[in-house]
């Protein structure tokens, strides 16, 4: 990207050249490095998803073999979960905006931050390599369930190593954010004067550093099982395959909150700004984030109701699953109440944020059907689970991410995207998303199992509609990404505060200067007061 000399110095132009980016410890540049890497991997995994949908447009084999299909859903899951969604919002928007929003010049450990990105890239490349090395792409699914993952002849070890490496990046980012929030808040920014996006990052970071080591150890155990036949999970050697599922989900369920909590934080910033009204229930939103992070630790067993767990464990996990829905519902109530009576301005960021509520709520309610012991028996391992999961992760984290990028785009690049283009892309995305995933609820209830490349012809209507939805969704993604990419370079210059936001990132120029602030601001009151300046 080139800049004219008349532009004031900012983090994009104070140094130029590829090397300056690859060695930069500026948190905003590192955030952009994550953004570009994640976008590329997201597009690759989305294309794999489209190919899988094309395969299932009609019963029987159409464009790929069953083994290829197994490899595709595995690598689609590994890329989307470990490379796109888990780092996603925290690594991109957390890196770019956390220090600015708390009035700091950078994160606590800037070089460690850059190192985290390199670890991430190394893990991501390993993940891709596992798909192609020796022509044996892993076919276990992203869950790596034993005994199959301990015995399969495909590239499971490389894929496990990739997930293991990526975990380190996540832990280091979480650690950086916790120390940054504890140590580097601006004078006067008490805990309850901190905006809610940093609060969501704080809750997320605790999950990252406490839960991620467990998956690291678990993946190492699978590798040891494969390479040395130790018997952790092999009943013939005194092990237990259900133990693997416990260990895997002890991490992977809280990981869902690593994915969704920052998205909740993003939309919590958007609703007050586009309603020009203080957020409704600041304190309940803070504590609901912390409650989700805490209770989310104890619900992992709802992934295992049909795996042979004891009855006592099943009702215990079912009960806690219902309880974890409460703080999420509190947030939804607060978001709606924030908009109620406000000057609602339906700009693209708000449109995506409202879509987030709609889709996340559908995902949440269908999650209750899966958390209930009786209905879980019917729905487990069907396409209903696939639909629920995508409504939560894509509808929640994905649309939260889209809301965030449309919200902060003018701040990041100092330029504005085309609104009409953004609205049309949203229309395609929202329509395509629902047409893609909603039929999977229906055929899932009818008994269509997940991860099958072929199916009974009675499911064809649902599968066909779903594939049409995938094409529409991809068209929407292409429209949205091309709008943003084009206008990052060619868009009209944006004002420093085009949405009239009141948090600190809107008080600095667009794009922000290299070290964010000439002088560290002094915070005099709580955030989201639209009739008062943020600082003195």
């Amino acid at each position: 990207m080139t800049y004219t000399s008349s532009e004031p110095l900012n983090y994009l132009n104070h140094k130029t050249g590829l090397w300056s980016w690859l060695t930069s410890s500026d948190h905003k540049r590192i955030g952009l490095l994550y953004l570009y890497a994640i976008t590329i991997f997201f597009c690759a995994a989305a294309i794999l998803g489209l190919l899988m949908r094309i395969e299932k447009m009609a019963p029987g084999q159409t464009i790929m073999t069953a083994q290829t299909y197994n490899g595709m859903f595995t690598i689609h899951g590994i890329i989307m979960i470990f490379i796109v969604v888990i780092p996603g919002l925290a690594a991109v928007f957390g890196n770019i905006f956390l220090p600015i929003m708390i009035g700091a010049r950078d994160v606590a450990f800037p070089k460690l931050n850059l190192f985290s990105w390199y670890i991430y890239i190394f893990g991501a490349i390993l993940g891709l390599y596992s798909q192609f090395a020796n022509g044996h792409s892993p076919d276990t699914g992203w869950t790596f369930y034993v005994p199959y993952s301990a015995e399969a002849s495909s590239n499971v070890v490389i894929a496990l190593t990739a997930a293991f490496v990526l975990g380190f990046s996540s832990i280091l980012t979480g650690l950086n954010f916790i120390v940054t929030i504890h140590r580097m808040r601006a004078p006067g920014m008490t805990w309850f004067r901190m905006p809610l996006f940093p609060w969501s990052l704080y809750a997320t970071a605790w999950i990252q550093i406490l839960a991620t080591p467990i998956i690291g150890i678990t993946l190492l155990m699978v590798m040891a099982e494969r390479l040395f036949h130790i018997g952790f999970f092999d009943p013939a050697l005194g092990g237990d395959p259900v133990l693997y599922q416990h260990l895997f989900w002890i991490y992977s369920h809280p990981a869902v909150y690593v994915m969704i909590l920052p998205a909740m934080g993003v939309v919590t910033e958007i609703f007050p700004t586009f309603s020009q009204k203080p957020v409704f229930g600041y304190v309940p939103i803070v504590f609901s984030s912390l409650a989700i992070a805490l209770v989310g630790y104890f619900v992992w067993g709802h992934h295992m109701f049909t795996s042979g767990m004891s009855y006592e464990s099943r009702w215990f996990f079912s009960l806690l699953t219902f309880i974890v829905a409460i703080p999420s519902a509190i947030k939804v109530f607060n978001w709606l109440s924030t908009m109620y009576g406000g000057s609602v301005d339906l700009k693209p960021p708000l449109l995506y944020a409202i879509s987030f509520i709609f889709l996340f709520t559908i995902g949440g309610f269908t999650g209750l059907a899966l958390g209930s012991l009786a209905t879980n028996i019917q729905l487990h391992n069907t396409d209903f689970v696939v639909a629920h999961f995508h409504y939560i992760i894509f509808g929640g984290m994905g649309f939260g991410f889209f809301a965030g990028i449309h919200y902060w785009f003018p701040k990041i690049y100092g330029r504005m995207y085309n609104f009409k283009w953004a609205y049309i892309s949203w229309g395609f995305l929202f329509t395509g998303f629902n047409l893609l995933y909603f039929p999977l609820f229906v055929i899932g209830i009818q008994g269509m199992p997940r991860r099958y490349f072929d199916y009974d012809p009675k499911f064809q209507t649902g599968e066909f509609l779903s594939t049409i939805g995938a094409f529409i969704l991809i068209a929407g993604l292409a429209g949205m990404i091309s709008n943003l990419v084009y206008h990052a370079r060619k868009g009209p210059k944006a004002e420093a505060n085009p949405w009239h936001g009141v948090t600190l990132e809107w008080q600095v120029p667009s794009p922000p200067p290299h070290e964010n602030f000439d002088e560290i601001p002094v915070i005099t009151h709580e955030p989201y007061l639209f009739d008062k300046p943020a600082t003195k």
């Binding site: 259900v242 042979g308 004891s310 464990s313």
Partner: protein, 94 residues
Amino acid sequence: MKNHTHAVSTDRANWTVLLILLLLTTLSVLAIKLQVGAFTVALALLLASVKVTIVLTYFMHLKFEQTILRVMVGGVFLLFAIVIGITFIDYLFR
């Protein structure tokens, strides 16, 4: 921040802690022979937890840290104790 004025463990205290850790490690090995069935793992975890607590307290200087750091580390231990406890409830009732 007060972390640059820390008191540190004496050499004598460090050697004592090392001896205690070696003793507990020996006990961990011997515990396998006690044949206490389902509680073997619980016993091993208990001994490991005591060792970890001693390492954190003395070798990692938690004893000399601010209260908030001790509370945070304690919270992490509590969390993992609950997670492990819930996992083993499954095994006890299966």
